[in-house]
């Protein structure tokens, strides 16, 4: 006997395994948020970093404090908590008090993820659950858009004490979508494309988001069908409605580059956990988001609807999955 003297292990086949791992996927997406964060810092100044850091801290704290499995903090290693925090931060307006950002991160993980049992179990995009909670809780703070100003300028509201608003009013500008909806003013496409407009931290620069999305798509880090379906559906439906009523309903290019559409399409809707696994389901999911975004923007009371569109389609995901299961090999529909 030349083998080892001790017992053999019994594992189940297959004995080979892909080198790809979940933490690596997370790190890849985290790295891809960095250009977006850089753009946010460029446009909104250092306050962007503060807000994102606060949201991330809230998320990581929740991940640590509400761990369902011992040892506490073990689940932090997969990096998904950090990613959720970063994404929450990037969806917030620059002048938001930091305590709200942190609360958003906390709720994202607590209500959006740990409630369902942690990574991979959640039914809704955790970052958007956090964002939706903030939007519902503090509608004023979440719709007050500080104008892009000096790099080191920090609005008074940023360091508001918890539970206080710290004087949000007074220095707000409107997002391109609100301008269009309420003032019927259309923002120039170049400003939208470069990102030099009011809005949430991560969503303003269409250019950066397109590049990052392209990279993630090429790396197969997400299901390319979802963003593509969102963009196509938005453009088609938005375009059709624009033709019907050009004054009220903005054109497809404006729809695509304004608001959180690209950010949502690249970072939010593509969260694999809360989107359909099946190829046809993914297409329907994306198309549904696009359609809802157009409907909410054109006919709804809110200027922006990407977050709600994604959450609503998250809710519909189990239904979509059910009707879009792949046809098993050798099973024709009729037979």
């Amino acid at each position: 006997m030349t083998g080892r003297g001790h017992r053999l292990d019994l594992q189940a086949a297959p004995f080979l395994h892909t080198t790809l791992s979940t933490p690596r996927l997370m790190v890849e997406v985290i790295l891809c948020t960095l250009p977006v964060l850089a753009a946010a810092t460029w446009f909104f100044g250092v306050v962007a970093l503060l807000v994102v850091a606060a949201a991330t801290a809230g998320a990581v704290f929740a991940e640590w404090a509400l761990a369902t499995r011992a040892p506490r903090g073990n689940t932090l290693r997969d990096g998904s908590g950090v990613l959720t925090g970063l994404l929450v931060g990037l969806t917030l307006p620059p002048a938001i008090p930091l305590w709200m950002a942190a609360l958003g991160g906390f709720v994202a993980i607590a209500l959006g993820k740990q409630l369902f049992g942690g990574l991979g179990q959640n039914l809704f995009n955790p970052a958007l659950v956090g964002r939706a909670f903030l939007q519902a809780a503090f509608p004023g703070a979440l719709t007050t858009w500080g104008a892009p100003r000096g790099f080191l300028d920090v609005p008074a509201s940023t360091f508001a004490l918890p539970f206080l608003h710290g004087g949000l009013d007074g220095m707000s500008t409107a997002t391109p979508l609100a301008l269009h909806k309420f003032e019927h003013t259309t923002t120039g496409l170049w400003a939208l494309f470069s990102g030099d407009v009011a809005g949430s931290l991560g969503e303003t620069s269409a250019l950066v988001l397109l590049l990052v999305g392209l990279w993630l798509g090429l790396r197969r880090a997400f299901d390319w069908r979802i963003p593509v379906a969102i963009l196509v559906a938005t453009a088609l439906l938005g375009g059709a409605l624009h033709l019907l009523d050009p004054v009220r309903n903005p054109g497809p290019l404006f729809l695509l580059t304004s608001g959180g559409l690209l950010f949502g399409a690249v970072f939010m809707a593509t969260d694999p956990v809360s989107s359909p696994t099946t190829p046809r389901g993914a297409l329907a999911f994306g198309a549904g988001i696009g359609a809802l975004v157009v409907v909410i923007r054109d006919y709804g009371g809110l200027p922006e609807g990407v977050m709600y569109a994604i959450l609503l389609m998250n809710a519909a995901t189990p239904l979509l999955e059910r009707v879009s299961q792949p046809r098993p090999f050798g099973r024709r529909r009729a037979a």
Binding site: R7, L8, D9, L10, Q11, A12
Partner: protein
């Protein structure tokens, strides 16, 4: 005042109308249905375990009222409930021959030889299909608690020796563990007859003893010591005739060299015999 009277009249009118409508419906539209079924269903435990063989308690209740089944066919209901149903339906409860799940293996960690280490998720069946799970005895209990997980009544717990212990009082003989065990080690056996062969190894003599110190090595002494016909050897294992009403007592277990045959009135492995 006129309004008040009118209001009373309207409501009374509605009452007459609707009462008449319902009375009419009750008379002419009602689908005949044995009203006893509903009552019986209330008396059943409502676990819908299927242990009785019917698809759910409602179906069993229907079978009961139709006289097709005996109340004791419900394995979950306690004797009071069975008696109550029987009294309600006016039939005999049938012989209360309660069964519990028994494990045909006593080869825990301390008794059975382990030849390799299973390295996968905790599941007996998972181990069973992975090179046999590394247990030397390919008939014995793998100890990874599949039965505990399927037991809806919390009647099974794993002991320190890696064997499932059935709580006789909680066991309802629903048979879930019988189905769950990948090695078919569970059997629903009448409590009335405590003689139990805790082994399924079809080997004899040294070959069996090499696998497990608690294995039956087919020496046949128990058969000799039992009343005629109660035990017989099949495939190197003694088989108890549970249909027989003979009460042999623990005598057949006295000369068993490995302890494979046991006299267990209550839970198995009460005093886990750790013979290394």
């Amino acid at each position: 005042m006129g309004d008040v009277l009118m209001a009373g009249a309207i409501m009374a009118g509605l009452g007459v109308l609707l009462g008449a409508m319902l009375a009419f419906a009750y008379r002419f539209l009602r689908v005949p249905e044995d009203p006893r079924t509903a009552r019986v269903e209330q008396l059943l435990p409502g676990t819908n375990c299927g242990g009785c063989g019917e698809p759910g308690c409602r179906a069993f209740a229907e079978a009961l009222t139709a006289g097709a089944r005996q109340p004791s066919g419900c394995t979950v209901a306690g004797p009071e409930a069975v008696a109550a149903i029987a009294a309600f339906l006016g039939v005999d409860a049938g012989a209360l021959d309660r069964k519990v799940a028994r494990l045909h293996c006593a080869g825990g960690k301390a008794q059975a030889v382990q030849i390799a280490a299973y390295d996968g998720f905790e599941s007996c069946r998972g181990a069973h299909v992975t090179g046999g799970g590394g247990k030397g005895c390919s008939w014995g209990c793998l100890g990874l608690a599949d039965c505990q997980r399927v037991c809806d009544f919390g009647a099974i717990t794993m002991n320190d020796n890696g064997l499932p212990v059935v709580d006789v009082d909680k066991c309802t003989a629903c048979g879930d563990c019988v189905v769950a065990c990948p090695r078919d080690l569970f059997e629903l056996l009448p409590l009335r007859q405590p003689l139990l062969v805790q082994c399924r190894v079809p080997l004899a003599g040294e070959a069996a003893r090499q696998l497990c110190t608690a294995a039956c090595d087919a020496c046949g002494r128990c058969v000799q010591d039992a009343p005629e016909g109660l035990l017989r050897m099949v495939d190197n294992l003694p088989v108890v005739d549970y249909a027989s009403a003979v009460d042999a007592g623990p005598a057949p277990t006295f000369r068993c060299p490995t302890g494979a045959i046991q006299f267990v009135a209550k839970a198995q492995f009460a005093k886990q015999e750790v013979r290394a």
